[in-house]
């Protein structure tokens, strides 16, 4: 039901934007804004070939950085959430590092980690890392006492508390923080891919299209990167809905 309504909503949005795009391109009548009638067929043609490789390269980097950030942020967040002492020590550092736009670390990451895929993945992981870290920590800190006490009385030790209580309790928060920071992550990826790589949508849009004035191809690339963002956003949104049933119903 919700899915069908959502699909309808999205199709309508796409339609309206395409119509507006067409209108503006007719009014402006310049190369920098080609009409969707030209771009959309070209997009499919490009996706059948070269563009799909760039799409996959960017997608893989995003996916890898989600995995990497979850892998590090979740255990650390759980630790901080359980130890007030440790949190008091680390919280000020988080408070300072959290608001820094992580893209400024780009040159440092390149110098320290080399010009590799990993350095790009690491950079976008940083964005997700802090979001997830803070959410998991707060989630663990605010778990109701009686939940923990009763689990302990049923036999749970530290490990079981992680797996059965803290873990599931923080999953909705993890998903939400990934979803809300995914577009920032892709923006940073877009910038990072503009140099020192030969694959990725950032490279395709800027180096292979924009810098050689191939505007129609550039729009094909923009469509692809939009699709990538929308894909992750919707996928995570769906997961949230599935795993979050009790919360959604509570809100009603």
């Amino acid at each position: 039901m919700i899915l069908r309504r959502k699909a309808k909503e999205i199709s309508l949005g796409v339609l309206v934007i395409t119509v507006l795009w067409q209108l503006f391109s007719m009014i402006l009548n310049k190369n920098i804004l080609p009409s969707p009638v030209e771009v959309i067929p070209l997009f499919f043609k490009l996706m059948a070939g070269e563009l799909s490789l760039h799409f996959l390269a960017s997608g893989a980097r995003v996916l890898a950085s989600i995995v990497l950030s979850v892998l590090f942020a979740v255990p650390l967040g759980l630790m901080l959430g359980q130890s007030q002492k440790l949190n008091r020590l680390v919280a000020p550092m988080i408070a300072v590092l959290y608001p820094i736009p992580k893209i400024v670390f780009l040159p440092i990451v390149y110098v320290l980690m080399g010009i590799s895929d990993f350095s790009k993945i690491f950079l976008i992981s940083l964005i997700l890392f802090f979001q997830i870290l803070v959410v998991v920590r707060d989630e663990a800190m605010n778990l109701p006492e009686e939940l923990l006490i009763s689990a302990k009385s049923l036999g749970a030790g530290r490990m079981a508390l992680y797996f059965f209580i803290y873990g599931p309790a923080s999953i909705p928060g993890i998903l939400t923080s990934i979803r809300i920071s995914i577009s920032t992550a892709i923006a940073v990826l877009f910038l990072a891919e503009q140099s020192l790589t030969e694959f990725g949508l950032g490279y395709f849009i800027i180096v292979k299209s924009y810098q050689v004035l191939r505007y129609k191809e550039m729009y094909g690339g923009i469509l692809a990167i939009s699709l990538l963002g929308a894909f992750f956003y919707l996928l995570i949104g769906l997961l949230e809905k599935r795993l979050n049933r009790h919360r959604i119903e509570e809100r009603k």
């Binding site: 049923l154 036999g155 599931p168 119903e249």
Partner: protein
């Protein structure tokens, strides 16, 4: 069953909650603990559950000194503590999940426990039925009434067949008809199970309905008292005379 010897416990040095406190409980007995707020009722229960450590003295259960929560002790709280993200059925199964996770290690799961997933699932269904929750197994805790949530919590604890059941104000957040029906239910369940029970409550009436012996904790360092509830019958009738006597002992600052 339970032996407390020279227990000392305090939250701040100035106001000790327990000062060389001694208390014994025989197997199969049902006790209530009464006392004004701040007298240490819940603390005592948490100490017995192994969730807090005594500063001095020992607590032994079945002649074993208590160091951590025992897998054979069940605990039921005022606020059920059900996992909000999973169903009633899965909540009731939670203790079995912990036992499967650790295996019969003797500290988290009783030694000699052999897991049989199929039988455990059947047990869950049986308990749903016993507690009158048979149609609610697939629901989430927040979709249940307070009484149903507490029934779920009771099922989740009793399904593990504890030999000692600790209850901390288990019925106090329920409305009075629900409370009576749950008091009856718990008393009824005890006829076919063999656990000793300690119930912490602020209701004298509940203490008289639910237990044969009553421990009264008093504040300002006054000695605790033990009252025998000779007219305890397991029904909802209670001894009015004893009620007044306890009320006098507890004094003015006790709210019923």
């Amino acid at each position: 069953m339970v032996e407390i010897e020279n227990l000392n416990f305090h939250y701040s040095e100035k106001t000790p909650l327990f000062n060389n406190f001694c208390w014994n409980m025989e197997k199969g007995e049902s006790w209530s603990v009464l006392g004004s707020s701040g007298s240490g009722k819940t603390t005592l229960l948490h100490l017995l559950a192994g969730l807090k450590k005594a500063h001095k003295g020992t607590i032994s259960i079945n002649d074993e000194p208590l160091k951590r929560p025992r897998p054979e002790t069940g605990l039921i709280l005022q606020n059920h503590g059900l996992l909000p993200w999973t169903t009633v059925e899965k909540n009731i199964e939670l203790g079995f999940k912990f036992r499967r996770f650790y295996g019969p290690d003797g500290t988290h799961c009783p030694g000699g426990f052999i897991s049989d997933k199929k039988k455990e699932k059947q047990q869950v269904l049986l308990w749903l039925e016993k507690m009158g929750l048979e149609d609610l197994g697939k629901r989430y805790p927040h979709e249940l009434s307070g009484g149903q949530q507490q029934r779920t919590a009771i099922a989740r604890t009793l399904i593990l067949k504890p030999d000692l059941l600790l209850m901390d104000e288990p019925f106090s957040s329920l409305d009075s008809p629900t409370r009576s029906s749950l008091q009856k239910l718990v008393s009824g369940l005890e006829k076919d199970s063999l656990y000793s029970r300690i119930l912490v409550t602020h209701s004298i009436e509940e203490a008289l309905i639910m237990s044969s012996r009553i421990l009264i904790l008093r504040d300002r360092g006054r000695e605790p008292l033990i009252m025998e509830n000779t007219k305890f019958s397991g029904s909802l009738e209670f001894d009015k005379k004893l009620y007044d006597q306890i009320l006098t002992v507890l004094g003015d600052d006790f709210e019923t």
